[in-house]
Symmetry: C2
Subunit: 229 residues, 2 copies
Amino acid sequence: MQQLLSAVKINVSEGLYLKDPDTSDLGRQILTKSIVMIDELGFEMFTFKKLGQEIGSNESSIYRYFENKHKLLLYLTAYYWTGLEYRLVFATHNIENSIKKLEKAIEILTELPVNFTNNTTINQVLLRNIVISEFSKSYHNKSVDTENNEGYYAAYKKLILRVVELVIEVDKSYLFPKCLVSDMLAGALHQHFLAEHFKSLTECGTSLSPTDFYKNLFSKQLNIDFNDK
Amino acid sequence: MQQLLSAVKINVSEGLYLKDPDTSDLGRQILTKSIVMIDELGFEMFTFKKLGQEIGSNESSIYRYFENKHKLLLYLTAYYWTGLEYRLVFATHNIENSIKKLEKAIEILTELPVNFTNNTTINQVLLRNIVISEFSKSYHNKSVDTENNEGYYAAYKKLILRVVELVIEVDKSYLFPKCLVSDMLAGALHQHFLAEHFKSLTECGTSLSPTDFYKNLFSKQLNIDFNDK
DNA sequence: CTAAGTTGATAGTATTACTATTATATTTGC
DNA sequence: GCAAATATAATAGTAATACTATCAACTTAG
């Protein structure tokens, strides 16, 4: 399975780049180092000039891959959500029981990842940090509707709707499957953030995790028991 | 009550401004117009220079009130959360039944506001729009821990912890009161945003609202019925 | 009436977010 | 092995941002 995953090439919406960064050394270096630098500096302080200096390349060369840093962020987050969906599909495809399936889905969407592929270009752990802190900035802007039309959020939406199907499978009568799943996906990021910076606002920490919270939440919402055999 | 509320002066943490904007004409104009402009342009496109031009004043004069636009955003959002807490306290203080109390709290925290005070400086409706789109940006940055220590998020935390108390009053045995409330407060903003820009990811829209979702959520989590008499 | 405080106007700096141009490598196709 | 195409590097330049500093003008309080 590990090998299977490492062989998967994750495709990201073409509008997000000018030139596919996964087809050249420089492109892959842009991905690798931008993740490290955005994690380190935060998105606002991160610039293409600084990135160029880090990778011993030139600002203008980076602009040939990405129109601007916002598009790069969209690329990285789309990559993240697509990767999560792959994981979800692989991890659940051979589970028969739909409750067990949903349980697995919750785990995958709420847990912090380890580096789950052998991909050496993209550091999954740092990428997850970026998604926690920066993803909401990618859609909280005035061009969100245009960008949504361009399909830049397709990976995120697809992932949510896939889990919505699982929820419906478990409880057809539940009124808010979309709210519940979209709440969980954004909420899990938020709870991880609170656990790090606003400890007084969450029970999540060393003994309890967002996964525990959302499993409990889902089981009561859908009137199911994840501990049943 | 309306008069009582309009007489309330909302105090915001002193570190957020260099000079209290509520003590001069220019200061109040900064508040009034910045809300309109941030709502219109989005926070990134909003600048003190443009604001100065709008209110017929000078960039440098605005800098005498706020160190930078980030501090202004923190001021505005702190003002918003403080105002919400006032509303919550006034609306629940004469309710005996703790379930009814919690129900009221959910309504206040998840509904879109009308202009609930006579305050002519601050447009509550626009301010709420700003909170929906921009609040998460205010804490998603590298100085969040310092700013948290300075008390810049005190209003937000106080509000959450007040509702956490209500949850505990209703169900002492529930494991995740803080998660539940912090999830709701961020989640309600998120659901309103989805309803506007990602309709496929939420049931919230014309017939169902975030309030409906979270009332349903809380009632199942805490095993209570908001429709009981 | 004077002193203190408030505002306005102007100027200046470093940085950002690009675009354009040209030179130099490197790859590839034949 | 060479020409052509492509990729990268280097440099320069622009408009805008996010400030800081200075000084003059006006307002207000004692």
